[in-house]
Amino acid sequence: MIEMIELVIDLLLAFCVVLTAAIVYTKDLLLAVILAGAEGVLVATVFYLLLAPDIALVQVAAGVGISTAFFIVGLRKIGRREE
C-alpha cells in the first residue's frame, strides 16, 4: 500500500535524476554549479521526510552553502564559463 509520503519522496527523487542529467549535459560550468546547489536542497528535503534531522542539518550547511562557495572561488581561476 503506497502512502502519501512515499509518493512525495518518489517525485523528489525523479526530479533529482532530471537535474543530474541536466548537469552532465550542459556546457556552461556556472550553471552546473548552481544546479548542483539546487539538487543539494532537494536531497536535504528527502532526508527530512525520511525522519533524519541530523543529516538534513549537515547537508544544508555543508553541501549547499560551503560547497557552492568553494566551487565558485575555484571557477574564478580557471577558464570561466564554457566547457
Binding site: I2, E6, I9, D10, L13, A14, C16, V17, T20, A21, I23, V24, L29, A32, V33, A36, E39, G40, V43, V46, F47, L50, L51, A52, P53, D54, I55, V58, Q59, A62, G63, I66, S67, F70, F71, V73, G74, L75, K77, I78, G79, E83
Partner: protein
C-alpha cells in the same frame, strides 16, 4: 529473475542517478565536470543508506521522547547506525572537494588548460 514491486521505486531512482554520475566521471573530458560528478555520486550513495534504514508502520526519529518504554522505542525507531555513517561521510566529502579544487588550480597553472585531450597532446 528479479521481482520489482512498487515499494522499491526509490532504489531504482537512486541507481539511475548513480549510473549517470559514473558515466560523467569516465567519459567527459573536462576535469571540473569529473569533480562535480564525484560530488553528486557521494550524494546518491548517502541517499541509499538512509532509504534502507527506514521503518514501516509508524516510524519515529531516533530520539527517545520522555516517558517512552525502551522496548517500544526499539521496535519503532529508525536505524541510527545508518545516520552515523552518513554524518561523517558528508563532512569528509566536502574536504575531498576542497582538495580536488586545489589540485585543479595547480594543474591549470602548470599546463594552461583543463581538458584531458589537450593535456595528452602537450606532454609537458
Amino acid at each position: 529473475m528479479v521481482i520489482v514491486t512498487a515499494g522499491q521505486l526509490p532504489y531504482i531512482l537512486v541507481a539511475i542517478m548513480a549510473a549517470i554520475c559514473i558515466y560523467a566521471a569516465l567519459f567527459k573530458s573536462n576535469l571540473f565536470k569529473k569533480m562535480l560528478a564525484m560530488f553528486l555520486l557521494t550524494d546518491a550513495v548517502n541517499l541509499l543508506f538512509i532509504i534502507q534504514g527506514y521503518r514501516i508502520g509508524g516510524a519515529i526519529p531516533p530520539i527517545i521522547p520522555p516517558g517512552m518504554d525502551p522496548s517500544e522505542f526499539a521496535l519503532r525507531a529508525v536505524d541510527p547506525l545508518a545516520h552515523y555513517f552518513v554524518v561523517t561521510a558528508v563532512v569528509i566529502g566536502l574536504a575531498e572537494v576542497a582538495t580536488l579544487t586545489v589540485l585543479i588550480i595547480y594543474t591549470y597553472r602548470h599546463y594552461g588548460t583543463i581538458e584531458t585531450k589537450k593535456i595528452k597532446e602537450l606532454r609537458g
